[in-house]
């Protein structure tokens, strides 16, 4: 009597393709996935709770560690929320610097995604090429704010450092270098038949599902919905720049890849514009009281992080510390669709689909 059995496979928490410490309880029938259950929380540090005991300035370095691939946007979320609640004016030069670093950070983050995604699928070199190019962004950041990953660059009311001498010129140089490199990536990856085979038509979901799962970022736009907070709920000085929001049509992994690659192009465009119009002088800090006492009230801001809508909700009781702070962490929301997507897929699609969502475990667990 031949009998088949379902097998319970523990993917993670120590597994090369879970991008951190995610554990997936996968029930497989042969190589077909029957059920998946993500187990999260291995990287939970309680940022939100800790923040209740920290002053607003002290929260900023903590946000660096949530989505460690795009710490600049995290910094911005919390300072932007605070500024909104306090009604602060931000000097123009500071806003330009913020936009430049945020967009560069988006490029860096997408490069890491592209590299690790290809690594998941089995190609080694794009990973190292992506890191080679990202290194230049990190060097720029290192020069600007003294750290490569945990920038702690933004402050309530402005930014900590002004651009050093020649920095803007270096950014400009990097933009043209990166635009050249993008062609190479397209040659190496975009047209690769094996890559297309592995991603086209895989992990498809429609717009309605995406909205119901509260997806955001490229995960949402790939279904054809043009929703980018930089355009639809503009913050900072994004209204000054012209850029497109790349959207997909069918919502498969290949289009997600294309979307993110195009987002790099668009970010580079924004950086180029910001560099061209960079105010030659001006303050980088607005008028901020020495001790930040945020007036009583509530505020929610959503900004477009590389992974989606990064929200920051602050409830203040008029103290120098928030009464409650809540981050809407896009990776966490985006991850929720995983069990639905994985149902009845082949086991080798697991890493492809998981990678396509682009999660950062530091952000999922908070």
């Amino acid at each position: 009597m031949i009998r088949t059995e379902e097998m319970l496979l523990n993917v993670g928490p120590q597994h090369p393709s879970t991008h951190g410490v995610l554990r997936l309880l996968v029930k497989v029938d042969g190589e077909r996935i029957v059920e998946t259950e993500p187990v999260i929380g291995y990287l939970h540090r309680g940022t939100e709770k800790l923040a209740e005991d920290l002053t607003y300035t002290q929260i900023i370095p903590y946000t660096d560690r949530m989505d460690y691939l795009s710490a600049m946007t995290n910094n911005y979320a919390v300072v932007h929320a605070t500024e909104k609640l306090m009604g602060l004016e931000i000097p123009e030069r500071a806003e330009f610097l913020r936009v430049i670093v945020m967009e560069l950070n988006r490029v860096a983050s997408h490069l890491v995604w592209m590299g690790t995604y290809l690594l998941d699928i089995g190609a080694m070199s794009p990973f190292l090429y992506a890191f080679r190019d990202r290194e230049q962004i990190l060097d720029l950041f290192n020069e600007l704010c003294g750290a490569r990953l945990t920038y702690n660059y933004m402050r309530v009311g402005g930014v900590k450092w002004d651009a050093p001498k020649d920095w803007i010129g270096k950014v400009d140089h990097f933009v043209s270098y990166m635009q050249k490199q993008m062609k190479e990536y397209h040659q190496l990856v975009t047209g690769n038949e094996i890559f297309i085979q592995r991603t086209k038509g895989i992990g498809v979901y429609d717009q309605e599902t995406a909205i119901n799962f509260a997806l955001s970022g490229a995960n949402l736009r790939v279904t054809g919905l043009n929703w980018d907070l930089r355009k639809d709920a503009p913050y900072s000085i994004y209204e000054q720049f012209t850029f497109d929001v790349p959207v997909g049509e069918v919502g498969d992994l290949y289009q997600k890849y294309l979307c993110r690659m195009k987002e790099i192009d668009e970010s580079l465009k924004i950086v180029a514009q910001a560099v061209a119009n960079f105010p030659s002088e001006g303050k980088i800090m607005g008028k901020v009281p020495r001790v930040l006492r945020v007036p009583e009230g509530e505020v929610y801001v959503g900004i477009e992080s590389p992974r989606g809508e990064l929200g920051c909700h602050i409830v203040s009781k008029g103290k120098d510390k928030p009464w409650r702070i809540k981050f809407r962490r896009p990776s966490f929301y985006n991850l929720q669709i995983l069990p639905t997507l994985l149902k009845d897929e082949n086991l080798s699609n697991l890493v492809a689909i998981l990678g396509g969502i682009d999660i950062v475990l530091g952000e999922v667990d908070g």
Partner: protein
Amino acid sequence: MNTLLLYLGPVILLLIVLGFVTYAILAERKVIGWIQGRIGPNQVGPWGLLQTVADIVKLLIKEDTIPKNADKTLFKLSPIIAFVPAFVVLAVMPFSSQIQFTDIGVGLLYYMAISSITTIGILIGGWASNNKYALLGGMRSAAQMISYEIPLVMSVVGIVLTVGSLNLNDIVEAQQKTWFIFPQIIGFVVFIISSVSELNRTPFDLPEAESELVAGYHVEYSGFRFAFFMLAEYVYIFAMSSLTTVLFLGGWNAPFGFTFLPGIVWFIIKFSVVVFFLYWVRATMPRIRVDQLMQFAWKVLLPVALANIILTTLLKEVPFLTHYY
């Protein structure tokens, strides 16, 4: 004297093969490093030359762990079954017109038949480890190697038809004028693809896909036994590259009549090109998905290989092409 050579020869070959494996691993890491903008290993010994030696020493002094619920006998047996055929197939390989151990009439068939035994070793290893990842890796490996063996054999039938012999020496002799890569280009493409797959290398490295199965069938192996699996893999690279050279690149024959270099040197040059190609492909390609892999073998490679056979037989009858076929 002859008896001495009979026993000493294989030992020398083993040492050569071990030396090759040592430096093939280093070369692989170097080449892939260069491709990726890195330098590759450069810490142990000058230019990293002793890196693999250090790695092997590390593997040898490592604790030999056997999982508690593993099938102990099979667990121990499997690396041996995997490795021995890899070495045994080298017996029929004509490295030059003199250097060859046995000249048997069905050399090609011998190679194909013996090399498929390794699959059993891998399957046993995957099963005996009593680990889910290893099992999946072992199953994948068995499916893949069996599927690709067929197009592999079919792709060389064209050559066999042309030469009229399965003897590897005869095949090399027949290539004195034209290498088979030209008339048998279709066969060559099929052969290269299936041989990469037989070698379990990117883009066909599914059995040990580290991003999916962690390490596949050898995930539970450590130390010496693990070294044997790795050794088998690299000896197969040696064997498969030699076979490619012999079948399609004219073996020890010098191209364009450049006979000032001895045959063995030409062999090594061609052989190195094939090995480099394998590294190069590894550095570039993503991995194919397991179901696509099967479809590719049965729906694409096999029909193409069959078509190649038919084409060869037809072309054999075309009068002014008989020179090539």
